[in-house]
């Protein structure tokens, strides 16, 4: 349960989000044009950017939650992986998801390693475990990021444009995984991919003109889409199911 009260967020003197009041109780997909503030909203929830206002996570203000507890309740998956270290392998990277559960200065436990192994098998990327992260394709990178998020075992998972760099086949694989995760996690999906959003079938938050609107049903009508995006839609092209 995320409650956002009077959230305002500016970047370089430009206001991105203005006085947002939202309550996210369940799965939700966040849509909006480029630069409308979708990612910014997600990043404020994870305390990655500065903001004014209050965000409550299960009733506690995120300003009073330490980073370790944050990591146990929220996981954010970026659209693209930023990596400086070019040596890290898929297995080592996925194991890092266990960091918030790790005890003190000790090594990752056998349990952590088992969870990592099972997650890699579940996502069918065990064959990549020795590969370095920098050698992966975009699709493999996205799967690796999801694997890391799964080992983290947080209640909420935020996907930031998971299919943005993927071909149709990989998009479909990722989409199916995201849908499957709805049974175990609260899934917040940020996307431009309308097919994906309609397939995932969560409530929609649309961000326009620094403000948010919640659509609980009947979002995907041609009139709605035309009004919000300002272009004509015939029909949605790729079907995920």
């Amino acid at each position: 349960m995320i409650e956002i009260n009077g959230l305002t967020c500016s970047y370089d003197k430009k206001t991105i989000l203005k006085d947002i009041n939202l309550s996210i109780k369940n799965h939700v997909s966040i849509l909006g044009a480029n630069g409308s503030g979708k990612s910014t909203l997600a990043k404020t929830i994870c305390k990655l950017t500065n903001f004014n206002g209050d965000i409550l996570l299960d009733g506690t203000n995120t300003k009073n939650i330490d980073s370790n507890t944050m990591a146990k309740s929220i996981c954010y998956i970026p659209a693209k992986l930023e990596i400086y270290d070019s040596f890290i392998s898929v297995e080592e990277f996925v194991l890092q998801g266990r960091f918030p559960h790790k005890k003190g200065f000790f090594d990752y436990s056998d349990n952590d390693k088992t969870i990592t192994k099972q997650t890699l098998e579940f996502l069918k990327i065990s064959h990549l475990k020795e590969h370095t992260l920098s050698s992966l394709s975009s699709g493999e990178q996205q799967l690796t990021l999801i694997a890391q998020a799964l080992t983290q075992q947080s209640k909420i998972i935020i996907f930031d444009e998971p299919t943005a760099n993927l071909d149709p086949k990989n998009s479909k694989i990722i989409a199916q995984h995201i849908k499957g995760l709805k049974d175990y996690h609260q899934v917040i999906l940020i996307t431009h991919d309308l097919n994906l959003a309609s397939y995932i079938n969560s409530n929609i938050i649309f961000i326009k003109d620094k403000e948010t609107t919640l659509y609980e049903d009947s979002f995907f009508t041609n009139e709605n889409l035309q009004r919000l995006y300002g272009v004509k839609f015939e029909s949605l092209a790729v079907k995920y199911d």
């Binding site: 990655l48 990591a71 996981c75 930023e82 990596i83 400086y84 890290i88 960091f99």
Partner: protein
């Protein structure tokens, strides 16, 4: 195989290093307690080799730490002006004629530490005005600070008398000429501390070496950890520089060599970097002692002669990526 050869050669240099220098030493003289060479070996050569070893370890570990925390191959205490800050601090202490000890800590070391720490805080403060994509600007800030400190040191020179200036000039060249066991022991303790603390934070460093936001999202209190580690490494650099003067480029070269030898994540390279750095500086110091002409070549000159071209190489390979 290459790894074995490299480590073997470096270790061999460490073993024969105490026997090389201006005065050739023979084993029977060394073992004779009344012979002058016994004193040369145990009070000058041996402490110096150990001093060089620990100095190399501190410089390399700090280099590895800075490169990891800033995720930039060119970031070291030396290139960011932190060494220069320590030099200025220590220089001022020399000018003021402070040779007092407080709880066994030399006043010069305290000034060196303050100089290093002040520079770290100044850089952190200034970095707030930069965007995260402007990492290179931080390097330029470091260079600007170095130039500023050098000028400030010139003022110290200008005000000093001839004897003080001679001391200062030799100090700024970087030298490992020490006598007795106090300095190696102090540096030994500090390098162990630095090694243990970096090891304790190895998984945080592994996360930070991927990306800062990533580390934060996995539960690392990035600001706190970064600050803590920077302060501890400033303590090491400040103390070292106040004894030896600035020894450049070791922190730049060694972590890269170790990464080439062992392409693995940073947590697995901490101990190796410390050892390799120790061996490598002993190796450089041995060259300095063998090459000596009228008087001994300062170590800082040797490391800069090797490190300068290496720095250029790194910038070029980085730019071509």
């Amino acid at each position: 195989m290459i790894r074995f050869i490299v480590w073997f050669l470096l270790f061999a240099v460490l073993l024969i290093s105490p026997f090389l220098g201006a005065v050739p030493l023979h084993v029977e003289d060394i073992l004779n307690p009344t012979h002058i060479n016994n004193a040369i070996f145990f009070d000058i050569r041996l402490p110096r080799v150990l001093f060089a070893f620990f100095a190399g370890a501190i410089l390399s570990l700090s280099g590895l730490l800075f490169q990891t925390l800033f995720r930039n191959a060119l970031m070291t205490p030396y290139t960011l002006g932190i060494s220069s800050g320590a030099v200025l601090g220590a220089g001022i202490a020399i000018k003021l004629g402070l040779s007092t000890f407080v709880f066994g800590i030399a006043a010069i070391s305290v000034f060196g530490f303050i100089g290093a720490l002040f520079t770290v805080f100044l850089l952190i403060y200034l970095a707030r005005f930069l965007k995260s994509s402007q990492q290179e600007s931080l390097l330029l800030l470091g260079i600007a600070l170095s130039l500023f400190y050098t000028s400030a040191l010139m003022i110290v020179f200008y005000l000093g008398d001839t004897m003080q200036n001679d001391m200062l000039i030799r100090f700024t060249m970087g030298s490992l000429s020490i006598i007795g066991w106090q300095n190696p022991v102090v540096l030994g303790i500090i390098s162990f501390l630095l090694l243990i603390i970096l090891y304790m934070y190895r998984f945080e460093l592994q996360l930070l070496s991927i990306s800062e936001s990533g580390a934060k999202l996995k539960g690392v209190d990035t600001k706190k950890v970064t600050l803590k580690l920077l302060i501890i490494s400033s303590l090491g650099i400040g103390t070292l520089v106040s004894i030896s003067g600035p020894i450049g480029f070791i922190g730049l070269i060694v972590p890269h060599m170790v990464a080439k030898l062992y392409p693995s994540t940073v947590d697995k390279r901490i101990l190796k970097t410390a050892l390799f750095g120790g061996f490598f500086l002993v190796f450089c110091d041995t060259i300095a002692r063998i090459l000596q002409t009228q008087s001994e070549l300062p170590i800082g000159i040797i490391t800069a002669l090797i490190g300068g071209p290496f720095f250029i190489y790194l910038i070029i390979t980085k730019a071509s990526k």
